[in-house]
Symmetry: C2
């Protein structure tokens, strides 16, 4: 059977999702725990290959197994074998052809910023701190240009191999609650570092480095150098992924 997992993690101590040689990744600890639990070698397929230090409330992974453990019980047994900064939130059987990256989906990310004179130690793993004052209204105005279907090449890190850089942003909200600013973005998919570059560009606009209307030119430039810096990983969290049709 094919099983779908919803996975939450504190990314602070991981070199991101995807397997690699020079550090522990979330994919690696999942593969180990699942292979141990099911008694056969298991390799998960992840939906979103989050970067080093990025967090997730609801990343999605699937795997195939011959285990007799009922799919919905796997989450309980698996969590006992996982380190405490990774927790599966649910497990369910899905159709054998369900692929978490090849199905149409909407992904939601949040980028959180603390904008105050001093850092706040409580929760600092999940927030990017800046003492430079951000004008939220300017950030909101600039965000509007990003809505809809665009070529987001300006918001893709230079190292990426992706050829097709057109994506759709369905929703992008910048909200303020006390000293905390949250950028919440939902899209059809995101290029490498895209949310962090959007956050970095919105922050540059919030700091008054250039006016909100420049966002239009930045998109049209289709060049990474036109956009702002890549915001640090710790402020970013993958909230969840919704699939167009029910997975089974």
């Amino acid at each position: 059977m094919r099983v779908k997992l919803v996975v939450a993690y504190d990314g602070t101590n991981y070199c991101g999702w995807q397997l690699q040689n020079n550090g522990v990744t979330v994919e690696e600890v999942l593969n180990k725990a699942l292979s141990d639990l099911c008694g056969e070698p298991i390799e998960v397929i992840g939906a979103s290959r989050t970067d080093s230090g990025v967090h997730a409330y609801g990343n999605v992974a699937v795997f195939d197994s011959n285990t007799r453990i009922p799919a919905e019980k796997i989450s309980y047994a698996l969590n006992q074998r996982l380190p405490e900064d990774v927790r599966v939130q649910s497990s369910e059987e899905v159709a054998p052809d369900f692929h978490p990256r090849h199905c149409n989906s909407r992904k939601t990310y949040e980028y959180r910023i603390l904008n105050s004179s001093f850092e706040q130690p409580i929760g600092s793993r999940y927030v990017h701190f800046t003492y430079r004052q951000l004008d939220v209204e300017k950030m909101q105005e600039a965000a509007k240009y990003l809505l809809g279907e665009h070529d987001f090449k300006s918001f893709c890190s230079a190292g990426s191999q992706v050829k097709e850089t057109v994506r759709t942003i369905y929703d992008l909200a910048v909200t303020k609650n006390g000293d905390y600013i949250t950028i919440r973005v939902t899209g059809s998919g995101f290029l490498y570092n895209m949310v962090r570059i959007i956050a970095g560009t919105l922050m540059a606009i919030g700091m008054g480095e250039y006016p909100p209307e420049n966002m239009k030119d930045i998109i049209e430039a289709c060049e990474r150098s036109a956009a702002g810096p890549t915001a640090p990983a710790r402020g970013l969290a993958l909230i969840g992924i919704e699939y167009e049709k029910s997975p089974i």
Copy 2:
């Protein structure tokens, strides 16, 4: 001059506030950083001696110094000398006789609980997790008995040397937001482990171990064994302390 600091910390890696021989405390790192900054030996007086693992958004400390640094600038210079899990939120000059424990004050604490099937790694340092279902309405009903002036001896850890165990609780709210339950309590002062014993007792009632009305008998018993268990430290945070009159 006497300077008042508002201090925030993630208590996870500290053996509480108060100086001790077998571990690093918040008081210790403050004394070191202040002595270094002011060029004279400095010892702070803290308002609340929080336990090992307990967090604070706004604990209060005062110290006396001959430094020429203006009081309100000390926070900036001090934060550069502090570890990243301790951050001073403000510094100001106060009257030389202001003592953070001997002035009338209202302290507010929050105890946070995640009540769901699975733990959530993001923010787990600041939350107590239980999968046993809690009835929030029962907890709210039981909380009402604690309001006002009472002898809270049943809610004081046996190790405490305190003789006067009468305290006043001004406000005690149990609220639910998604899977998170927050117990927010404001009082004239709290006995050793009092908030954690209140939280543990409210949880026992929420789990149905005894009915809400038993809270009355628990208070009247004036005996630690009558109340529920001491809830774990990680869920507790000192929100802030308000003093009756302005400190200067």
